[in-house]
Symmetry: C2
């Protein structure tokens, strides 16, 4: 009888592994369980569907259940939810949501791509029907309906992270009145406040009301309660981040770590032999902070899933970790970050110099040249790059990849000043802004020494 | 009496050094000699002035002689040409081109930023008045006049490198009939032919006649002679690359190396004590080929000039070398390369695998997503990245910087598969094309092993 791999979770962390395992093990029986109706979709694309840039939810589906069945011979079972794991008997308890029936499914190998769930703070009224997270395509369908309904006038976004701000822009594009409420000194708390302030300014220029340093105390029908004030809200969008959806694994005895995410080694093995995990339900290792972190991003989930799948298929691969790279575009402003912020450094005990420079995305005289601000943090004494942030106009933000590779390679800012980065007038000034920032950071270090 | 630094050459290689030396040595007397009328200009911007994207030659001047005089206390002497160097007596023989007088100028330190000159092949008629290189702002002024003159109908560009193709586009934009003649199998000989073919196609789509595998045999008034055919040519643009303008130094006994470029060490010191050099007149060390090369690019010249200036000013800095990065935009097509091509590898004895992938610049479903092709070369056994080429639509080419850093860090393509590159739908698919290419290269290596 063929060995059976059961995959729990039909999105990136699960299906990237399933596909890779199939490539290397044509003999394997692979069953994938997904409680929703869709597989392998781009949750990151939801704001663009809601805002109208992308036409329809179907565009976000990378591979349908039918494709996995026909092209990968994977037995995808949508609307089948894994209810419990029995790791001693090597069985999953499965609920067929359409039929309303429960059955047990044995496995030789188990892979968990359980994903994450939007954080819902424990506040009065949080379960109101007009309060939405942004995670699944079911969420997307609800939000799209709200966005295109003429009864949605006032939208309050709670939390000014990536997804919250992308949703704020989406509803502005739909003609709604949008307020973002964030507890931090500026939106985009994964940047330093001086860089986050640029993002707040861009949103305000687009017509979003940004309220920072304020906490939401609760929700009523049609209102969001702040200290001493209440805001009208036909719709509330939760942008407070996500938590790993690891309860199923934890209850079965799989070890978890930071924020309750499933602990995995470099090959994506959990603490239980024969049980693997990848994606938003898992920990990653942060290569600069040198600690385990929970970073829920599609690109990380795909890489971890691929590594798990290669190993599941009898190959060898490791996932070395992350450096904390993220990017977004808000109105015309591009925003990106990688590595550690000032606050991260302070927490971890790193002493550092800061260099922030303003330059242009193209040669200053070239049509379409826009502002770009690059901020670098470099460790004292070693001169090693610790982190970088970029805010600017078209063409600015993808420069973060250059910094991400520098971090991965452990480069110093002095070494960075010599990097052979590309230059032509349509693409950058003769000194790319990354090089200008590296020079300034190197000078700051020299000034200290 | 103050020590005197004489700088020969008023563009990047010279003036970047002069500025840095000034910052560190307020006491130094600095005299800069420039035979032309301008200082610190962007030669790379000339095609965009000629094509009309940038209005006027003045826009290309980063710092004028007046600025260097007033803000940097540098005695800039334009239209003063260094005719000879007397390194024993520590004097430069200078010709004041306006006054028609010659004088000798003593120095304690000498810095050579002599630049490069367009290669003029030894062919019949090469000195015709309608045959132009693209190097100085004087060239720019001539070409701009030709471009906007109604008597210029037929333009022939000899050589299909960066500057030649940029000029071809410029004259097409001005309504001329343009033919590019290149001896190679495809234009853009710094790419492999399979990637160069994409560039040829883009030019043809824009209306440029591209003739590859053909040599120019000579020039007549109004014509360019090929084997068995002659092309009408009101104007001929030379795009055959440049040669280091090192004769002045070589005649004085300064050692030269590859292609006659001035030999320098990592601090930009020449073979003669107290004599420095930087920019297009110099060699660089190629960090992948591990050999000395002559690469004439503004970004390299600026970096070398800065390093020379820091050292001249009593500081310490080194220029580690280049990886051969270059970028351009032709019509809507972006083109970039770094490291070694297949031909380079063959010459150097590197055995390698090739991975070429086609993907999209943004998420496939996102508005404005365009094609991108990424080609990677990786060394057999070691798996180390050897080179990369990118051709694609808006947003494609700056990805070359990611590859340039990977080359500098000596990364393997397997290591690259784990890189934490940025992803959001407006910027890339969930697997950035660079990662897809790295995966394919890693698979090719695994297939070999």
């Amino acid at each position: 009888m063929a060995e059976r791999l059961v995959v729990v979770g039909g999105d990136a962390g699960g299906m990237a592994a399933a596909s890779q395992a199939r490539r290397r093990r044509p003999d394997l029986e692979i069953v994938a369980l997904e409680k929703g109706r869709w597989t392998s979709y781009s949750a990151c694309g939801i704001p663009y569907v809601v805002g109208g840039d992308v036409s329809g939810i179907d565009a976000l589906i990378a591979r349908s259940p039918e494709t996995f069945r026909s092209d990968f011979a994977i037995d995808v079972r949508t609307q089948h939810e894994a209810m419990a794991l029995d790791l001693d008997r090597r069985e999953v308890e499965v609920r067929d949501l359409r039929a309303g029936e429960t059955y047990r499914l044995g496995f030789d190998h188990l892979h968990l791509g359980l994903g994450a769930v939007p954080i819902r703070p424990d506040l009065p009224g949080i379960d109101g029907p007009h309060i939405h997270g942004v995670q699944t395509l079911e969420d997307a369908a609800h939000l799209l309906e709200d966005a295109t309904s003429c009864s949605t006038g006032d939208v309050v976004v709670v939390g000014g992270g990536y997804i919250g701000l992308e949703m704020a822009e989406a509803f502005i594009n739909r003609g709604c009145r949008v307020t973002v409420v964030d507890r931090g000194p500026e939106v985009m708390g994964t940047l330093d406040p001086d860089m986050g302030a640029l993002v707040s300014a861009a949103l305000r220029a687009k017509g979003v009301t940004v309220r920072t340093g304020e906490a939401v105390l609760g929700f009523d029908a049609g209102r969001v309660e702040l200290a001493g004030e209440s805001l009208p809200a036909d719709l509330v969008v939760l942008g407070l981040g996500v938590a790993p959806n690891s309860a199923l694994a934890a209850e079965a005895g799989v070890a978890t770590g930071v924020r309750g995410a499933i602990s995995v080694d470099q090959r994506q093995r959990t603490s239980v032999a024969g049980v693997w995990a990848a994606g938003d339900c898992c920990e990653s290792f942060h290569l600069v902070a040198k600690e385990r972190v929970h970073i829920a991003l599609g690109t990380v989930a795909n890489k971890q899933g691929r590594v798990a799948g290669i190993n599941l298929g009898g190959g060898y691969a490791t996932f070395p970790g992350v450096v904390g790279t993220a990017i977004t575009k808000l109105c015309a402003t591009e925003v990106a970050r990688t590595g550690l912020t000032e606050r991260d450094c302070q927490r971890l005990g790193f002493e550092f110099v800061v260099a922030t420079v303003t330059s242009t995305t193209r040669a200053g005289y070239f049509p379409g040249a826009g502002d770009i601000k690059v901020k670098l943090l470099a460790e004292r004494r070693s001169g090693r790059l610790l982190g970088g942030q970029v805010v600017g106009m078209e063409g600015a933000a993808k420069r973060i990849d250059t910094l991400a590779v520098c971090l991965t390679a452990g480069m110093t800012v002095e070494e960075m000043t010599g990097l052979d980065l590309s230059y032509a007038p349509p693409f950058s000034p003769v000194w790319d802004p990354v090089l200008i920032a590296a020079r300034k950071a190197a000078e700051a270090l020299e000034g200290e020494a």
